[in-house]
C-alpha cells in the first residue's frame, strides 16, 4: 500500500508540474491584463508603467522562470487586483468550497444510498417510481433556475431562510439544498442500478433462502458489494464541487473558489488563477487517492 501511495504521489506531482506549466502559458495566451486593470481612459503612460511594474514587458519565458523560481519557495505571487498574496485569497475561498462540498456530499451520499437501495428492493414499486421520477427531475433541472426560484419562494415569500450570504447555519440551507439536488438524482440512479444487479446475485438469494431479514440483506450483504461503482460516481461529483460550484456561489454570494477562479480568469489575475488551479488540483489528487483506499477497504480482492 505504501509503495502504491508513493507511486501515486509521484505521478500526481508530475501531473501537477505539467498542469502549472500548461496553465501558465495558456493563461498568457488570453492577452495583456493592462487594459482590463486600468480604465479605458487611462493614459498610454499609465499603461506602460503598469506593464513595467508587473514585469509584463519581459519575454514570456523570463516571466515563467521568475514565476517557477518563486513557486519553488511556495510563493504564488501577489494578486495584482487584490493587493494581497494570491495563495491567501485562494485558501480563504477554498475553505468555503471545501465545507460546501463536504456537507453536500455527505448528505447526498447518505440520502442516495438509503433511497436508492430501498428503490432497488422492489423494482417498479410505488417507492421506486417516485424515487426515480424525482431523481431524474433533480439530475436534469438547471441549478440557476432552482436557486432563483428557491430564493423567491423560501426567502422572499415565506421568509424562512435568508436569501443568500453567510453568517448563520440558516445561510447554508438554500445553497446546500440546491447543490444537493443534481448529484442526489445521479448517485441515486447509480445506487439503484448497482443494487438491482447485486440483489439478483446468487449469494443474496441464498441469504433469503436461509431466512435472513430484508434489512440485513440490503444494508449488510448487498450494499457493500454494490458500492464500488457508486464510489466512483461520488468521487466524480465531489471533484466537480471542489472545483467550485460557480453558479451556486454566484447566486448565493458564497465566497468560494469557483467564483474566485472565474472572476480571476475574466480579469486576467494570473497569479490567483494559477494558485486556485494548484490548490484544487492538489485537493482532487488527494481525494482520488482516498477513493483508491476506499476501493481496497470495500473489496478485499483489490490490493495495491
Amino acid at each position: 500500500m505504501l509503495s502504491f501511495l508513493g507511486k501515486r504521489a509521484v505521478a500526481s506531482a508530475i501531473s501537477l508540474i505539467g498542469l502549472v506549466i500548461l496553465v501558465f502559458f495558456l493563461s498568457r495566451l488570453t492577452g495583456d491584463p493592462t487594459n482590463l486593470y486600468l480604465p479605458v481612459d487611462a493614459s498610454l503612460e499609465s499603461r506602460e508603467r503598469f506593464r513595467e511594474i508587473n514585469g509584463l514587458n519581459d519575454p514570456l519565458i523570463v516571466q515563467f522562470f521568475r514565476y517557477a523560481g518563486d513557486l519553488i519557495r511556495f510563493d504564488f505571487g501577489m494578486s495584482v487586483r487584490r493587493g494581497e498574496p494570491a495563495l491567501d485569497a485562494v485558501l480563504r475561498a477554498f475553505q468555503w468550497t471545501l465545507w460546501l462540498a463536504l456537507i453536500t456530499m455527505t448528505l447526498v451520499t447518505v440520502a442516495a444510498i438509503v433511497v436508492g437501495s430501498l428503490a432497488a428492493f422492489r423494482v417498479g414499486g410505488i417507492f421506486d417510481r417516485i424515487a426515480t421520477f424525482f431523481s431524474l427531475i433533480g439530475a436534469s433541472a438547471p441549478d440557476f433556475w432552482i436557486a432563483i426560484v428557491a430564493i423567491v419562494v423560501f426567502s422572499v415569500s415565506l421568509g424562512w431562510v435568508p436569501t443568500s450570504g453567510t453568517g448563520t447555519v440558516w445561510h447554508w440551507i438554500l445553497p446546500v439544498s440546491v447543490l444537493f439536488i443534481r448529484p442526489f438524482g445521479l448517485i441515486l440512479q447509480v445506487v439503484r442500478g448497482s443494487m438491482i444487479s447485486t440483489l439478483s446475485s446468487a449469494y443474496v438469494k441464498t441469504a433469503r433462502a436461509k431466512g435472513v431479514r430484508n434489512r440485513p440483506i440490503i444494508f449488510v450483504h448487498a450494499l457493500r458489494n454494490a458500492m464500488l461503482p457508486v464510489i466512483t460516481v461520488i468521487g466524480d461529483q465531489a471533484a466537480g464541487l471542489l472545483n467550485g460550484a460557480v453558479i451556486v456561489e454566484t447566486i448565493f454570494g458564497f465566497p468560494g473558489v469557483g467564483k474566485l477562479m472565474i472572476d480571476s480568469i475574466l480579469q486576467r489575475d494570473f497569479t490567483v488563477v494559477l494558485a486556485a488551479i494548484f490548490v484544487t488540483a492538489v485537493a482532487i489528487f488527494l481525494m482520488n487517492i482516498l477513493i483508491d483506499i476506499f476501493y481496497a477497504v470495500l473489496d478485499p480482492r483489490i490490493r495495491y
Binding site: 480604465p39 481612459d41 499609465s46 487584490r82 436569501t163 453568517g167
Partner: protein, 500 residues
C-alpha cells in the same frame, strides 16, 4: 429529549433573528461585486467608490449634482495664474486614527497617486499627461501647479482621495484611514465590509451610525434582499428586476452609449456614410422595449447635466429613405459603400446589449450597409476600442458605453475626439484646437466653447453614431429617505441617507 430539542430549536431561532432585522441607525447596502481592494486611490471604480468615497476618504472639493463644485476639505481656492491654484484647507480636521490633516497629506496623496511602485486608477484616469508640483505655504494653505495649466484643477481635486502621509506609499492599503465621517472597521473578504460613524468628524453628524456592505453579483438576488428586508439599498439592479415603483428609483446614470467609428477607413471616411449610419437607426424604438423607460436620445458624449452640453442639438431622426439616398450619393462618387463593416459589441456591457446590437445591425442592413456583428469579451473589445487599433480587418464600428459623472466634458473629450486620444476614431486638427481651447477656458467662455465643440462633432464631423444616455435603477427600502442621483454610479454617501 423534548427539553433538548426545545433548547436546540431556541438556539436556531435566535440565530435567525439577524437576517431580516436592522437597528434604526444602521443600513445594509448590497453591491454588485466584491471589492477587490479598499484602496482610496482606486475609488474611481464604482464599487470601491460607493464604500470609500466621502464616507471614509474625502476630497478637497466635491461636485454636487445641481449645485456645482462645493468645498470639502478645502474651504476655498483661487487661481494664482500660470497654472497655479491656491487651496485654503479646512482647519481642525483629523483622520480617523486621530492624526491631524494638513497640507503635507495633500502632497503625499498627490505623489502616491502617481507612484512608480503601483498603479492608482485615479492617477491613471484623471492625472495622465500633466505634471503637478506643490508648494506648501503653511499647514492649511497649499499651491498646486499643473503643467500644462488645468483651468479645472479644483474640479480635478474632487477626484483625489486624501490619505494621511503615514500611509504606505508603495502598496495598496487594506485598512484605509481617512478624514470622512466613517471609520473603516473591518473587511471580511468575500462576506462583508463594516463602517461605523466617527464621533470626532469635522462636519455634521450623520444619521446613519453603522453600515454593512454585502456583495451579490446576481441582480435578482440584490433586489430580493431589499424586498426580504435583508438589505436597505441595492444599487445597479437590472431593468427586469425593477418591478416595484415604490422602491425602485430610475435615474440618469451618467453613461452614454454610442458607436465609435474609425473615420480613417473607407467607407467610414465619408461624412455621408456616417450620416446615413445615424439616420438608419430608430433610436426611440429601443426605449421602453429592450432599454429602460427614461433612456434619453444622445447628441453628445456626456450626459445633459454636464456643463457645455448643447441642448440646441436634436437627435438624428429615423429616416431610412434619407439613409439610403446618402449611401447612393456616396456610391455614385466612388465611395466603396458595399465594403463589409465589422461591428464590435461588448458582452454584458449593459442590460440587453446583445439584443440591442442585433437590432442595430438589422437596421443598418435595412439601409443597405454590409455589416457583420461580433460580440466579444471585455479584453478583446478593448483591443478594438483603444489604440493601437486592430489592423487589417477593414472598417470597424465599436459599440461603447462611456461614463462621465464629473460634470465637465474635459474628462471625456480629449480621450474620445482628439487626434491623440486613446479611443478617438477621428483625426481633425480643427477639432483638436477646439478641444484645447475649451479645456483651457473658464466660466461662461468654457461653457460656450464646449457647446461649439459638441455642435461641430455632431453636425460637421459626424464622428460617431450617437445613441443613448442611459438610466440606472436602485432599489431603496421604503423605510429610508434617500433618492439616488447621477453620482450614485460612483459614490454613495451614507451621510445623505435618512430614515423616514
Amino acid at each position: 429529549m423534548t427539553q433538548r430539542f426545545t433548547r436546540v430549536a431556541a438556539i436556531l431561532m435566535a440565530t435567525t433573528a439577524g437576517f431580516a432585522a436592522h437597528a434604526q441607525d444602521s443600513v445594509t447596502i448590497v453591491l454588485s461585486e466584491e471589492l477587490e481592494n479598499v484602496e482610496p486611490c482606486m475609488a474611481s471604480k464604482s464599487n470601491i467608490g460607493r464604500v470609500i468615497l466621502q464616507n471614509v476618504s474625502e476630497t478637497l472639493t466635491e461636485l454636487v449634482p445641481g449645485t456645482g463644485l462645493e468645498p470639502r476639505l478645502a474651504e476655498s481656492w483661487e487661481d494664482m495664474g500660470n497654472g497655479t491654484w491656491r487651496f485654503n484647507l479646512r482647519e481642525g480636521v483629523t483622520f480617523s486614527d486621530g492624526t491631524a490633516f494638513d497640507a503635507g497629506d495633500v502632497v503625499f496623496s498627490l505623489e502616491r497617486n502617481k507612484s512608480d511602485k503601483f498603479v492608482c486608477e485615479i492617477g491613471a484616469k484623471y492625472y495622465g499627461g500633466m505634471t503637478l508640483t506643490t508648494n506648501v505655504i503653511d499647514d492649511t494653505t497649499i499651491e498646486i501647479t499643473s503643467d500644462p495649466a488645468q483651468p479645472i484643477l479644483p474640479l480635478l481635486m474632487s477626484t483625489l482621495t486624501v490619505l494621511p502621509s503615514e500611509a504606505n506609499p508603495d502598496a495598496f492599503v487594506d485598512q484605509p484611514i481617512g478624514t470622512g465621517p466613517y471609520t473603516f472597521d473591518e473587511y471580511n473578504r468575500g462576506e462583508n465590509i463594516k463602517l461605523s460613524v466617527r464621533d470626532d468628524y469635522w462636519g455634521e453628524a450623520p444619521t446613519i451610525k453603522n453600515a454593512t456592505y454585502l456583495f451579490r453579483s446576481e441582480s435578482a438576488v440584490r433586489a430580493a434582499m431589499v424586498e426580504a428586508g435583508e438589505a436597505d439599498i441595492a444599487p445597479n439592479i437590472a431593468v427586469q428586476d425593477a418591478t416595484n415603483e415604490a422602491t425602485d428609483y430610475s435615474y440618469p446614470n451618467s453613461e452614454t452609449v454610442y458607436m465609435r467609428l474609425e473615420t480613417a477607413t473607407p467607407p467610414l471616411d465619408d461624412v455621408r456614410v456616417r450620416q446615413a449610419l445615424n439616420y438608419a437607426v430608430d433610436k426611440e424604438a429601443f426605449v421602453g422595449t429592450i432599454l429602460a423607460n427614461g433612456t434619453l436620445l444622445a447628441t453628445g458624449m456626456v450626459p445633459p447635466s454636464t456643463i457645455g452640453y448643447n441642448t440646441d442639438l436634436q437627435p438624428y431622426p429615423y429616416d431610412l429613405e434619407k439613409a439610403k439616398a446618402l449611401l447612393e450619393e456616396a456610391k455614385a462618387d466612388g465611395v466603396p459603400v458595399d465594403t463589409e463593416i465589422l461591428v464590435i459589441g461588448r458582452l454584458e456591457n449593459y442590460a440587453n446589449v446583445t439584443e440591442t446590437m442585433e437590432a442595430l445591425v438589422a437596421m443598418w442592413q435595412d439601409a443597405g450597409f454590409n455589416v457583420t456583428l461580433n460580440m466579444v469579451e471585455t479584453a478583446e473589445w478593448n483591443e478594438y476600442y483603444s489604440k493601437p487599433f486592430v489592423e487589417g480587418k477593414g472598417p470597424i464600428m465599436v459599440n461603447a458605453q462611456h461614463d462621465n459623472a464629473n460634470g465637465d466634458p474635459v474628462f471625456s473629450m480629449f480621450f474620445k475626439y482628439a487626434s491623440d486620444g486613446v479611443q478617438s476614431g477621428i483625426s481633425d486638427p480643427k477639432l483638436d484646437e477646439m478641444i484645447a481651447a475649451a479645456t483651457a477656458a473658464t466660466g461662461d467662455e468654457r461653457e460656450a466653447l464646449w457647446k461649439d465643440t459638441f455642435a461641430y462633432i455632431f453636425n460637421d464631423v459626424v464622428a460617431d453614431v450617437f445613441l443613448w444616455h442611459m438610466v440606472g435603477f436602485t432599489r431603496v427600502s421604503d423605510k429610508l429617505d434617500f433618492e439616488p442621483t447621477i453620482r450614485t454610479n460612483s459614490e454613495l454617501q451614507l451621510s445623505q441617507i435618512k430614515f423616514k
